[in-house]
């Protein structure tokens, strides 16, 4: 066991062992904690969440870097399982990182990262490897960004929350099927859903003044613009509006320009739906336009320092900026980890509506 300085100026204790066992890893975690606590009683282990991540070994470093960049929303114990072809033994590295408290009478937090190199054959019995290493009584979130579907079945008894990104699947229907399947047994945090959060907040705010509330019942057009890789996010945003406003949706048509078009039935009117890819530097959604048959339309488009808002009401146009800092992909992943402790009852209905549209 070694004490080292890490790249973010925090210190860390490190343990490594080749051809190891889960029991040895668990013992190392306990020993590192005991030693560090004996050296400094002002340090306490964070106890928020177990995050189990299963990745292809080629992406292990990249994933570890992504997880480091989530900032303050770091899980307290992260178990990163890297799948290596033809591997039969377990190699492990435990990193217990901590920052010394600024105030000598204060306390500092310890975060634990366990990296385990596993082989494909280990995946079916992954629970026997992970279970001894997680902190009991904490919620456990599982993320498998490179497929490895058997991970979820293997860890089903341990899993409280599944983290996924519906935008990662090449085809949105497959992504929605996977998410709906996971919803049966676990709570799902979908990064594609979290990409829609600022848009949902702003749309909710736009129709919040009582005098505008009635306009929700007059909507006859919804257009959503998205980057090439965020079709699922766009469909989830449309699904959210449909489920919140009781629109009856059916499959949309896919045009040659990869645009989805169709209609939803809302009370006594139809709502024209259009979901189209646009060129933009940033991943995620690019804009949304809501129009009505009473001469009102609202557009929100991604821009510097927030969203550019444009309205037409009674023939008069107005444009302004709705302020907000872009979270970036690292911020969205961090938000995904944080959401493991919350529950959003609107995702399931939005997902069901989105699935019906594709």
């Amino acid at each position: 066991m070694n004490a080292v300085a890490t790249d973010d100026n925090a210190a860390a204790d490190v343990w490594t062992e080749q051809d190891t066992t889960p029991a040895a890893i668990d013992e190392a975690l306990r020993e590192l904690l005991r030693m560090r606590h004996a050296a400094n009683q002002g340090l306490a282990p964070a106890r928020v969440l177990n995050l189990v991540v299963v990745v292809d070994c080629d992406f292990k470093d990249e994933t570890a870097t992504r997880l480091r960049r989530v900032g303050r929303y770091h899980a307290s114990r992260t178990i990163l399982c890297a799948v290596q072809p033809a591997r039969s033994a377990l190699d492990a590295r435990v990193v217990m990182s901590y920052e010394q408290p600024e105030d000598p009478a204060g306390f500092g937090l310890i975060h634990e990262t366990v990296e385990i190199d596993v082989g494909p054959d280990h995946l079916e019995r992954l629970q026997t490897i992970v279970d001894p290493v997680i902190v009991s009584d904490l919620p456990t979130m599982v993320w498998s960004p490179h497929g490895h579907e058997q991970t979820f079945e293997a860890l089903s008894e341990l899993t409280d929350v599944v983290l996924l990104d519906s935008d990662d699947e090449p085809e949105a229907p497959d992504a929605f099927r996977r998410a709906r399947s996971q919803l049966h047994s676990s709570y799902v945090v979908d990064l594609a859903w979290l990409r829609t959060t600022p848009w949902r907040e702003r749309l909710a705010a736009s129709f919040d003044p009582p005098r505008r509330r009635a306009a929700l019942q007059e909507i006859n057009g919804l257009s959503i613009r998205h980057s090439a890789g965020a079709c699922a996010s766009a469909l989830l945003l449309a699904g959210w509006l449909a489920s919140r406003l009781d629109w009856d949706v059916s499959p949309l048509n896919l045009t040659d320009s990869d645009t989805f078009e169709g209609t939803a039935a809302a009370d006594s009117r139809d709502v024209e739906l259009r979901i189209e890819p646009v060129q933009q530097d940033a991943p995620g959604l690019g804009g949304v336009t809501i129009s009505s048959d009473v001469g009102f339309s609202l557009s929100l488009d991604r821009g510097p320092g927030g969203l550019r808002a444009h309205t037409i009401r009674d023939g008069r146009e107005r444009t302004w900026r709705v302020l907000g800092h872009s979270r970036g992909e690292a911020g969205i992943l961090g938000e995904g980890v944080r959401q493991a402790l919350l529950r959003d009852p609107t995702y399931g209905p939005a997902l069901a509506a989105a699935a019906r549209m594709h």
Partner: protein, 516 residues
């Protein structure tokens, strides 16, 4: 431990798009800050507004007007605000967001009693509404010296700015709200002559702290403690707000305030109230405040002859703090060398109701004490019969539950435990919980939460008129007695110490102050 959920669902019933959102919508708003170039605006209000903008929490249309006596152009005020935000914001400013926030900021200079200032405010608000194409809610934020609070409130009324049809108008008033009970009543009367109570948001920023709101979660989200939360099991309670720093550059304020007004009348009595109120039926603003008022009115106001027995004041003298030699209070710059202002205050209070009758509540606060700590220590009664022998050990001590407010937020419970070995010997051990180990979120600044609540119309964390008067009513007899006593020497305690030794005289037999 469960998180507090003290905000009511403000619009959820009506707006189908609100369900599931963490951040509830805020209606379009214009905030007018009186004292826009002052220290509070500089350090707290403007950075809080920026952070709300950064997080995307400001309303879709948001306008800002700064008002102060010094002459500035809009551009000059914009640069002042930019400097404040860049220096004090808890997040690194995004230049695009910052530019957006400040792009249309306005500044009006003039005296707070000048009717023309208010005509210009009305005109500016009207210009904003025409430009934005919709009515804006109005918030008038009084961040001035307290003598201007009644002046501004009256002037807003005379300019017909207290009510505007079709929009919500609110007035936010900083502390101190009054100087004593009479002045608080007078200020309430002036403000309520112009505004309805539900338009008035009296700020005690302490209530905006997550740590203080967590008291509600601790009490009302955990069944574990409620059965013992009464006179049958609790022996005494100590509330401590100790600071290791002196008065800094605040001599002119502190000389008139003193420790009792500065911390006890507001923050510490709020902690006491949240610790001891009955469970409210809901966390709707008035339900919670009804319970607080009921509790505060159950604290007997000391009679003049009792003050010497239940209250004690002192001043720090020169000493060593943090290894440095520091001056005494009377030697601080701007302080009267014969000042009788207290920098330390301790009180023993009681609560005359069925739950708490007979339980002493000890409060102490001071500057230049040995360390910075705010905590509530609840000591339970000893077990009724002790079959265990205590020879050869520290023995069994009553359980103590400590709610740590700052610098670290958490809960500590002392328990009796057996010392390993062949004999049954007992010593107290601590079971500690730190909020920082269990939550990933960074707490927002209190001002961010409070400004957002004021814009949203949620007064839960603001102080109501009767609550303010109940708070002053408790300490007013002490203030009066201390003011009238011009002859007794003011006790001194060395800077860097735990306070005056005489503070023990307030304690009932068998009780000791907790070590800081």
């Amino acid at each position: 431990m469960a998180t507090a959920s003290v905000q009511p669902a403000v619009h959820e019933e009506d707006n189908p798009l609100v369900a599931g959102l963490e951040r509830l919508p805020v209606r379009p708003t214009a905030i007018t800050i009186f004292g826009g170039t002052g220290d509070l605006a500089h350090r707290k209000i403007l950075p809080a507004l920026y952070n709300l903008a950064h997080e995307g929490a400001l309303p879709e249309r948001f306008e800002l007007i700064g008002i102060a006596r010094s002459p500035h152009s809009d551009d000059e005020f914009r640069e002042v605000a930019r400097g404040s935000i860049e220096r004090y914001s808890r997040t690194k400013p995004d230049p695009d967001v910052l530019d957006g926030l400040l792009s249309d900021i306005r500044y009006l200079s003039g005296s707070f009693d000048d009717a023309d200032v208010y005509r210009r405010i009305a005109q500016t608000l009207q210009d904003f509404e025409e430009q934005d194409g919709q009515p804006l809610n109005h918030i008038f934020y009084l961040s001035t010296a307290p003598q201007f609070f009644p002046v501004i409130a009256r002037a807003l009324g005379e300019a017909d700015l207290a009510r505007t049809e079709g929009v919500d108008t609110r007035i936010v008033i900083e502390k101190p709200f009054g100087y004593d009970l009479d002045s608080a009543r007078e200020l309430n009367a002036t403000v309520l002559d112009v505004f309805e109570e539900d338009q008035v948001y009296r700020i005690d920023h302490y209530l905006g702290k997550e740590t203080v709101q967590n008291l509600l979660a601790f009490r009302f989200a955990n069944a574990l403690f409620e059965p013992v939360w009464n006179r049958n099991y609790i022996d005494n309670v100590q509330i401590t707000a100790a600071e290791d720093i002196g008065i800094g550059g605040r001599a002119s304020y502190y000389e008139h305030a003193g420790a009792l007004r500065d911390l006890v009348q507001n923050h510490m009595l709020q902690l006491l109230a949240l610790l001891t109120i009955e469970p409210p039926a809901s966390f709707e603003a008035n339900r919670l405040r009804d319970e607080k008022v009921k509790l505060l009115e159950s604290i007997p106001q000391p009679k003049p002859r009792e003050v010497g027995k239940i209250a004690l004041r002192a001043q720090y003298s020169a000493g060593v703090s943090g290894g440095e030699q520091v001056p005494g209070y009377r030697q601080e710059e701007g302080v009267d060398p014969h000042s009788r202002t207290e920098t330390y205050a301790a009180l023993r209070l009681g609560i005359s109701n069925w739950r708490w009758a007979g339980v002493p509540f000890y409060l102490r606060t001071g500057k230049r004490l040995s360390r910075k700590v705010t905590e509530i220590a609840v000591t339970l009664k000893p077990v009724p019969h002790l079959a265990l022998r205590s020879e050869g050990s520290v023995g069994v001590t009553p359980n103590q539950l400590v709610l740590m407010v700052q610098p670290d937020e958490g809960v500590s419970i002392s328990l009796g435990a057996k010392i390993p070995g062949p004999r049954l010997r007992i010593r107290p051990v601590n079971m500690e919980f730190h909020y920082g180990t269990s939550f990933m979120s960074q707490s927002p600044e209190a001002y961010e939460r409070l400004i957002l609540d004021a814009m949203r119309g949620d007064a839960t964390l603001f102080t109501r008129n009767d609550e303010i008067e109940a708070l002053w009513g408790i300490i007013d007899p002490v203030l009066t007695a201390w003011r009238e006593d011009t002859r007794s020497p003011i006790r001194q305690y060395p800077a860097g110490s735990a306070g005056p030794a005489a503070a023990s005289s307030l304690l009932l037999p068998g009780h000791d102050w907790r070590r800081l």
